[in-house]
Symmetry: C2
Subunit: 669 residues, 2 copies
Amino acid sequence: MSAAAASTNTPSELAVPTNKTAHAFDKSALDALLLRRFFFAPSFEIYGGVAGLYDYGPTGSGLQANVIDAWRKHYIIEEDMLELDTTIMTLADVLKTSGHVDKFTDWMVKDVQTGEIYRADHLVEAVLEGRLKGNTEARGEKAKEVKDEDPKKAKKKKNVKSEAIRLDDEVVTDIEYILAKIDDYNGPQLGELIRKYNIRNPTTNNELTEPVEFNLMFESNIGPTGQIKGYLRPETAQGHFVNFGRLLEFNNGRVPFASAQIGKSFRNEIAPKQGLLRVREFTMAEIEHYVDPLDKRHARFQEVKDVVLTLLPKEVQQEGRTELTQMTVGEAVEKKVVDNETLGYFLARTQLFLEKIGIDPKRMRCRQHMANEMAHYAADCWDFEIQSSYGWVECVGCADRSAYDLSVHAARTKASLRVQQKLDEPKIVDTFECHWNAKDVGMRFKKDAPMVKEFVSGLEKEKLECIKKELAEKGTSSVQCPDGKSYDITSDLVKVEAVTKTEYMREFIPNVIEPSFGIGRILYSLLEHSYWAREQDKARGVLSLPSLVAPIKVLIVTISQDPQLRILIHDISRKMRKIGIASRVDDSSASIGKKYARNDELGTPFGCTVDFASLTKGTMTLRERDSTSQLIGPIDTVIEVVHAIVNGTMDWQAASGKLESYSGVQDVE
Amino acid sequence: MSAAAASTNTPSELAVPTNKTAHAFDKSALDALLLRRFFFAPSFEIYGGVAGLYDYGPTGSGLQANVIDAWRKHYIIEEDMLELDTTIMTLADVLKTSGHVDKFTDWMVKDVQTGEIYRADHLVEAVLEGRLKGNTEARGEKAKEVKDEDPKKAKKKKNVKSEAIRLDDEVVTDIEYILAKIDDYNGPQLGELIRKYNIRNPTTNNELTEPVEFNLMFESNIGPTGQIKGYLRPETAQGHFVNFGRLLEFNNGRVPFASAQIGKSFRNEIAPKQGLLRVREFTMAEIEHYVDPLDKRHARFQEVKDVVLTLLPKEVQQEGRTELTQMTVGEAVEKKVVDNETLGYFLARTQLFLEKIGIDPKRMRCRQHMANEMAHYAADCWDFEIQSSYGWVECVGCADRSAYDLSVHAARTKASLRVQQKLDEPKIVDTFECHWNAKDVGMRFKKDAPMVKEFVSGLEKEKLECIKKELAEKGTSSVQCPDGKSYDITSDLVKVEAVTKTEYMREFIPNVIEPSFGIGRILYSLLEHSYWAREQDKARGVLSLPSLVAPIKVLIVTISQDPQLRILIHDISRKMRKIGIASRVDDSSASIGKKYARNDELGTPFGCTVDFASLTKGTMTLRERDSTSQLIGPIDTVIEVVHAIVNGTMDWQAASGKLESYSGVQDVE
């Protein structure tokens, strides 16, 4: 599959074979294959393993390395981004400022007898859904089709047995209302629900404790004294923000530009399930694109404006509907469905990337966050959701984080994380200035004082004008600061005065638009989308991974155990590996058919077979995994062809022109 | 520089320009450059930073990504290794078994007043060296040339003021003896030395506490209960070993084969100094090669037998000498200087790799570990040391870890980590069998019982025979087990009986040969080796990084600010990036000379300049960083040439054939 072909907006042939989706998907068969072929396995398996930790084997790591390499080329190289590699071990202060120490938490409940721990919201949701289901059964109604269920729901259904008990109509209405806004409840509120509906541990029927807050960051200490507290980063983003000053300098002081980082992040999940979709250690690839808040256009938007996205806007969801709209990015931005060009640009580029690595475009959608889902500071946020047997799962988040992170770090550290722009000509401006009563501000707002002063003084003209008015009228004005809290500014603390001044420079804290990729979730989705079974042999799985990302590109086998042929295949393999083609020899005594079957399970796109003609005529056959069609030609020509296909400069059709078709070898034995 | 050229054993031209070493090395100038051009900087710098934690900027991460990519191609792809990506968060049990929980420690002492913390061995060493120096001064002798000093010594000298005080001859002899074996002292012994020589905190002259043991692993808890203890891995190796069973199966049950992993590891150093050479979080690349203990030959040894190594064998060091011997790997293995072919193979391959990425071969050596340095189980161990301003520093370790790790994990978990080999024909063997008195063994050795039984029962015939003899004569026999401890086996615990049996299979735990790379140390050494200043302009630094690893391959500039030319350079840059060439545009108003200077500091091997001829004739010039020589040709031809050079299929000489030489543009302005 040529990279060119893949980077159009239509699925490339090899990436999504038409026959692939023809069969019902068998998850247990795929799971067995992934373990048998060591794509991944539980970490420390021989020690019993630990939930939420997985090791990638040769196939999984190879696939991951190729996806990451494609990501680096697609984003960092092609878009000239500034790459970073910042530490995983993070100073507690940094994550205190970012809000993670206080807000990066889940609520958990314990079984009072067994001590078994559940995530409070997941449990309440599961139990109440079970009761609705039981009610439906009791009333002999047909269970409602649950659309687009997210992985946790999909999973929990299994745990929760629903008894056929009829509920009063108003109870049903209440429960439906609660489930609709389940993500909005805090710990105490979840506690009330647990009491009100007498919710117990579904497995033991024991009572549960009050919900307790649990921070999801792994904690540790740096150095021997135990005085420096650190956390394992929950995202790579903060590592970008604390380096913004140096990045801006590296970019000659100009925006827009983007920094990018690929690395491990950690979340100490309360009760992780669902394989690679909810893990405690995972690889992320994050881009932080810094833009002028007054100008979020993108220089290369024209190049992607015709890319078609499948959208699920917030308005639709708020009406409880889920139908999808197809629209070009150009149209979406023009109609303000997507907030700005830069956000739209990254949605389009991400669509192209996911297709390039083999995600089925028919099972991708961009879902916009609803108001209640977004962080208070976020301007707009879209998730790339990929559909798998777990439902629609967020795999890439594209958020406009506004100036929040840079503002709070600047306020906390006094580092200037501002962009200075020389104005073409000096500008006479009527504006407002804040004169603070430093002492009283300090006494009133304590540690928050610098942040409040920095933030308020930096507000635009209009805001300052209305604060001035409020102070004059009521003597007080309430301002919401980046930390999400509101502060009452009173006239004894600050004088806001109208001034006329000449500006030579413009200063601003840039906004940040962040595409954030969960590599593990993408990999798992890709494996499901690539998996199918052959018509003639259902038990025989095939992973139709594009050759761009396939962990091994070529399998090399011989038709017989003849020593000369055995030497030959090792020479061919070495030749290929020397020019960077990941190839594997299978010189076991298994039949060709068995070897091809193994090969199909490894997602290896090509197979080369040598026979005695190879010794006499110097030829070798080339088999394409998905079609099982075969070509034949001189060994070196076949190697050239494979090299070209793997580098994306040739596709199978072109290859068929360079080599003769062949039908000698039985594929199945 | 063509990859082919680089993978010979002689330094390639671009990698080590002859003029490069001509100038005295100015470390402060390099350090300033590395920070100014954001190769790396202290993590959370705006929060004051934390010792031993560094972030890589765009240049540093680009360089690292390219070195890692070269490593993956050189080892994983070309040698068909099985890649792994195992978790950083590691179950405590695993590291208990491996010995890290008990033995991965350093001894520290505290200043009784200030609480300042030092590594005990480093401090004692520094103070005693200071006294020897003072004695030398007092006697008016010339200070002895310190050869091959290691980084910590180089550093500490600076901290410790030496007063010119004369010491008695026997005191001098004692101190010299102590310093010679300083690495052998444990905590209590260091405590004695501190008291005997009244060693105090050199900066405050306060007394010091007794040495306390400190484990160098970062500790954390997995999950919400705090009951599952975890550590951040101190090496990636254990992640390979616990997966050995699956790896062996993946390889169809055969050895030899190798697994490889690139990833972050952590060491909570007591008082890290020396920049990237001693850090708390670092990227490693580790290979675990599994071989038959009875056959450590390597199939591809012939390919490297003529590679010349610079060796410092243990015998030489034991005589206190340091002169180096040059020898081919073939000769070294034949003469048993290097223990076996596999170890020799990896030494040669590593030599080739380090040269390929630009390490100066004249500043590399293989130093063999002396008996007292090696882990008790290690058969042989060689460090690749690279010379920098910090002295000779270990950057790659090549150790034969024997069967230790697999044995202890197998014993602890009961997982069979053994290889089974079908014998060509059944074999009648006279051997010995152990019949254990399970109950008593359990009572005697408690938790170690399974390990002792597994290990003793698995001993070869000769060992078992002499144990049988000892038991018969003395009723007891002492056996050293893989955990390093000796266990007294008594005749009431086990009967060792001669048996004759027919063997159809051979079973063994493979030995492990481990090349382990510290990527950060290699990067820093590479930067020092690549740094030089131009004859005509000492202040102007140049990093002669090979184009294989240079973070940015091409700088694109225009001679004037003409808008058409500005558009043109962005088009050219986009064209290059689309085919994967990392290029940067500099359209700032700085002079060409300044732009080239910046470019030289970034280690960018090529510069492309467009002028008005580019618009009329469609030509562009190409500048080579080290020679500053320039060529000119059609824009697309220049792009092709750059692409070929960057992919290692063309060198500058060949390029000079494809393009015309050019001398129009002044390099320095």
